[in-house]
Symmetry: C2
Subunit: 376 residues, 2 copies
């Protein structure tokens, strides 16, 4: 909380005000409270944070949240609602009263609330992203949660890849246990395994052939021999809220020479990227080193080839600070980042290899211990 | 799109501007595109909506989104970024250029973006919630998706309740197949079943005894005989994005007289609520009828007793318009709502029974066909 107080103080404000549900990672980080509907959070400088909750959530919030719950009645909200006749106006009224002075707000505060808050005094946008910066440097407790999620993810990846390895080619598609092996079957098996580990995976990618050339295409239908299959899994551990993130590319059979070359180059790029990571190195430099590597091997970066950034932070969001992209600033010890170079060409296919681990003072503590081999 | 054009036009604006990911239900509704990171959406009056996407998402967006994808380069964003040196500024610059005049924005637009947009012209908040209003009235296609999700949910509920029914009491806890039957075991079985149906359940409630008195307490540990067990399941169908929502309260053994009375009263309240639903009736009247019913039977509404609203809309969010609460306006045919009266007393426990269905011109098309019995 000291860093949030520092931000409030530096902005010349009396309090930090947010309005979000636990779908918002900043909110979950600040409150440790899981809730579907948005709640008002007010942290006055130097005081315990408060959370305005409906009566029905009071006892649960008292038991679960790290902020001090206040009912809507106690907060003044219900009286303001009588007076103002409009929930958003009453919300702004409540926030202003609890804050007691100029407010610092996250850039993501609902615009409607921000505009109404301006009627009560100065509203300063936290352009530095104080909570995001707090979240980017993980505690040992957070690192353990992320490492555990990544271990479950590697086991799920192994299960999916084993299905492809055990399959056989027939009539241009892969068969397993007498049935066509589809993207959906592999996803279902990985998801069911992960659920048993307390992790929920969504939007998982198992994309074969032409579909693999679109980096975020989820993929559907039969998997085919001799074509690249990109698998990208990024489940969330339900209990902790932390994500994992991992990708592999495999071929059952014989890859085209283009795919084999792309895979070799992506593998080298990943090894290079991981070798350069340590606290203090700008994410932009890591991205640039991989762009240079690809360029030297005749692969472009931009509209095709290496079309995304080298990596991103992972935590309560699957994409968060820091960024390993052209705009990425210096890494810090305790950051958790992916290293995921990829190459994508329409008509040929895609290759991506993604590991995740923690940045340390002297290097990279890779949490992903799993083969990067292409051919099954 | 006509209703969005009407809202743009009524506000005297040139375009509607949003910036969100598919975690935002309005965004998913408008674009039908699944994406983790926020994207800029600009709908000019009378024109096709546009979606500004990173290069790596272009091909996928062209294949999947109902808005027309434009790369960041094509949109001008990358040039503005060079000029403005700051992503949020470049984003506002891009939005203003694409809009070409005053903009209508959702109340949830990030405040930082809204403030920057003000530098380019008038920014009008859509206080009427045009997209939310569009979402509240479902098409037959949406109704079918929600009904299918609710059917899977009822089957999962049956599976969970069957585990409790098959259990036996020993030493103050329930045992099933030689092991203690816990909240976690029941949840895991229901979740695994739902996953096989393509549905992801999160924050499911299986709360026993004292925990059942907190309406949103998720519950943990051994389930016990003779105590109320509230089960509340609200999974999301991954493919369609639509939610279901259902609750039951059961007792293995002999409920206390208080719980038996509360259950009878809640059951009557639900039957009453469902019988009064039809297009045109205000949600507030339905809620008030149930408050009156409870009052007549000696149960209060407020800090304890009936502590929440009678129900809520369900769709791409588990809680959306319309509201069956003191502030709820008239229902419309095509709304999907829950009817979920409950009573909660610390020291005694909680009872909630929740069905979901569609509002029709003349009544309520209940999608939940499952026993409401208390005693197993």
């Amino acid at each position: 909380m000291k860093r949030l107080d520092d931000a409030i103080s530096a902005a010349g404000c009396a309090a930090y005000v947010a309005y979000a549900s636990s779908k918002d990672a900043d909110f979950r980080y600040l409150t440790q409270f899981q809730v579907s509907d948005p709640l008002l959070y007010v942290k006055r400088l130097g005081e315990e944070p408060g959370l305005v909750v409906p009566q029905m959530e009071y006892a649960r919030a008292a038991a679960e949240a790290t902020a001090v719950p206040v009912t809507r009645a106690e907060s003044g909200y219900l009286a303001y609602l009588d007076e103002d006749k409009e929930p958003w106006k009453a919300l702004a009224h409540t926030a202003a009263a609890l804050a007691g002075g100029p407010v610092l707000v996250p850039g993501t505060l609902p615009y409607r609330l921000g505009r109404l808050l301006e009627g009560y005094g100065e509203v300063v946008v936290d352009t530095g992203g104080a909570v995001g910066a707090m979240r980017a440097v993980k505690t040992s407790h957070e690192l353990a949660a992320i490492r555990a999620a990544q271990q479950a993810t590697a086991a799920a990846m192994d299960l999916g890849i084993a299905m492809i390895r055990r399959s056989s080619a027939q009539g241009g598609v892969l068969l397993l246990d007498g049935e066509v092996l589809t993207s959906e079957r592999v996803k279902a098996a990985m998801h069911t395994y992960l659920m048993g580990q307390g992790c929920i995976a969504r939007e998982t990618i198992v994309a074969c052939g032409e579909e693999s050339a679109m980096p975020h295409r989820q993929g559907a239908g039969p998997l085919r021999p001799d074509e690249p299959i990109v698998i990208d899994l990024f489940p969330c551990d339900e209990a902790t809220g932390y994500y994992a993130d991992m990708s592999r590319t495999v071929v059952k059979g014989e890859p085209s020479p283009e795919i084999a070359d792309m895979h070799r180059s992506v593998l080298e790029a990943q090894t290079l990227g991981k070798s350069l990571i340590r606290a203090g190195v700008p994410g932009a430099d890591l991205h640039a080193a991989v762009v240079k590597h690809f360029d030297e091997q005749g692969y472009e970066s931009g509209a095709q080839g290496f079309v995304h950034s080298l990596g991103h932070g992972v935590g309560l969001e699957v994409h968060e600070a820091p960024s390993l992209s052209p705009s990425g600033g210096p890494l810090a010890a305790g950051n958790v980042v992916t290293v995921e170079p990829g190459l994508y060409y329409a008509g040929i296919g895609g290759v991506r290899i993604e590991d995740m681990g923690a940045v340390t003072a002297g290097g990279f503590d890779c949490y992903t211990d799993y083969t990067r081999d292409l051919i099954l």
